[in-house]
Symmetry: C2
Subunit: 355 residues, 2 copies
């Protein structure tokens, strides 16, 4: 099976889940817990059990589905369950799900009894290429994404592309936004390669691996986000704000990748204005997202609210809103401060795009 | 000024708080927060301000006094205040208080935006000799002490013995239990020296420093409690259970050191039965605590409840209750499993002691 070495753990590409069997045989865990959400409990857990008929001794902890539930309340629920099931320091938590499960589960594990082992089995394209690699854990609070969290490394990450079959097209496309991002910030050839795909579902295991390898290289170089790791935040300053706004104001709210796709278009506009991203690159970036994503009807009159949310972003220092922007496709600059009026202009640029 | 080097930070013995002035001058913090509880806000903050008249730019976060408030609810309150005051990653949290403030404040800081700088200014004898050294953060949940927490190092620890003048005799004596513990587990001469004191308030800065140096040596050798650090848990398996029981069942509940003092007597009894602690040492240990502490009227009929709480202890693995016990004064063994009946016998031994 293929694998990538990360920060003291291995990322396995392993549909058989043999790597999980091996790891459990090698370690002597006192108890095994599997964290799922309602959806992965229904659709992914049976897949896992079919692959591993011998794995019978575990307890299930389930949280509700959706980013709006990545909260301290549900994290407390996980802690309480671990306590009630008498988890000790030699227990293992397996996070089986998308970013909500992997982010919140790893936060819960990294703080329970000052840290128990955890293992990531990301089941969405988004969490496979993003959330499960890099040692960040987190929950949201007061509209601020991942504002409470730790740096903590899993025992392993297992990428089983079979789980992607359980996803809706919308979920797959959402994850694809981060794949495109990896091309824009670090690898122009990869960008050209993946935007040839007719739709996100055509992504191959090889391309997923390439996407993860890009992110992994960056986080290994800068685990605590002092420098180059910030390039991964491209699209996320504006994108997170739109995502948060949508979560608290819209019934059918945006998925993470959908919001980040909007953020990347807006921030490409900023990059053109500020650091000379070529007009043709701005067009290529806009066209790429235009190919896979619908045009979001971003309400007029919410720009001040969005700026307010951006101000709360973890990435800021001293009240300035901090951006990572590409100066060309394949290369990204960090620590760029942007004037509020220009940010509003970029939102307007998105609104006026012809999809 | 005297100082001790710990794990990438310095412990200053510094009544002038010059070390704080120097640290703030050297770093460029975007905002400074001071966490206090109701008592330290009233009694210690004015002392700090009198020592540092130039420190005027800070926000105060206050939590209620007492171990029963070292909870996730008040931790959420700290996180919300940091968010509302727009703390960014370059903010500093100064924890000014006893163990509740230093444990909970450092947990809040170590998880806010994945970790902001924090500084410990312990104001009780207990937190000076114990909670503020060793990089453990934590809050309690469902009667289990420090069950949620992280390992995180402060930027510095500042010991100003002037703050001890603000304490009641009961508070000072509580902290003294941990000083005696350091003698029992690691330094027989120090044990003999400190039990000569008429009362806990007579403790000198030199003796406080010696006590911290013992703990610091142990935690430097074993920061993540894989081995020798467990010796610091002597008295804490039974002591924590009694403390938790008292917190949820008694109006005038035991202080940490008072409970640990009981735990050390009980566990010295276990040590005599199991690993040959000499009878004379058991008598010396009992006599030491008898000198400074009242006899606690430990209710009959609560032993099963206490055992239930002990089972939840973080230090356990695979359902066994794990003890650290001295085989003589000045030396301590770890990873000892004890039969439930013997534990009950040790509680009975305490109950029957003549004070």
């Amino acid at each position: 099976m293929n694998s990538i070495e990360s920060n003291n753990y291995t990322i396995y590409f392993d549909n058989s889940l043999q790597s999980l069997t091996d790891l459990l045989a090698e370690r002597n865990y006192s108890k095994i817990f599997i964290l799922t959400d309602e959806l992965t409990g229904e659709h992914c857990l049976p897949v896992l059990q079919a692959k591993l008929p011998d794995l019978t001794e575990f307890d299930i902890i389930e949280v509700p589905n959706g980013e709006e539930n990545k909260t301290i309340d549900f994290c407390i629920g996980i802690w309480r369950m671990l306590l009630d099931f008498e988890a000790d320091r030699s227990a293992l938590l397996i996070n089986l799900g998308g970013g909500v499960v992997t982010d919140m589960g790893s936060f819960a594990a990294s703080t329970f009894k000052r840290g128990i082992d955890f293992l990531q089995i990301p089941t969405t394209l988004l969490s496979q290429v993003d959330a499960s690699v890099g040692g960040k854990t987190g929950i949201d609070m007061e509209n601020v994404k991942n504002v409470i969290g730790t740096f903590a490394q899993p025992q392993a990450v297992i990428i089983a592309t079979d789980f992607l079959k359980t996803l809706s097209d919308r979920q797959i496309t959402s994850g694809f936004a981060e794949v495109i991002k990896h091309g824009i910030i670090a690898d122009a050839d990869f960008f050209q390669e993946i935007i040839q795909l007719e739709n996100a579902r055509e992504i191959s295991e090889d391309q997923i691996q390439k996407s993860i390898a890009i992110k992994n290289k960056v986080v290994l170089e800068d685990p605590f986000e002092k420098g180059i790791r910030k390039t991964l935040n491209y699209g996320h300053t504006i994108g997170h704000a739109i995502e948060s706004w949508s979560l608290s104001n819209e019934k059918n709210s945006l998925l993470h990748g959908e919001a980040i796709a909007i953020g990347m278009i807006c921030e490409a506009y900023l990059a053109k204005e500020l650091i000379g991203l070529p007009e043709t690159d701005l067009e290529a970036i806009s066209a790429a997202f235009l190919k896979y994503f619908d045009h979001y009807k971003m309400k007029q009159g919410i720009d001040e609210q969005l700026l307010e949310i951006m101000k709360q972003d973890k990435k800021n220092t001293s009240g300035n809103i901090n951006f990572s922007l590409p100066n060309k496709i394949g290369n990204c600059q960090i620590n760029l401060l942007v004037d509020n009026n220009l940010i509003k202009e970029s939102l307007e640029f998105y609104r006026n795009l012809e999809f």
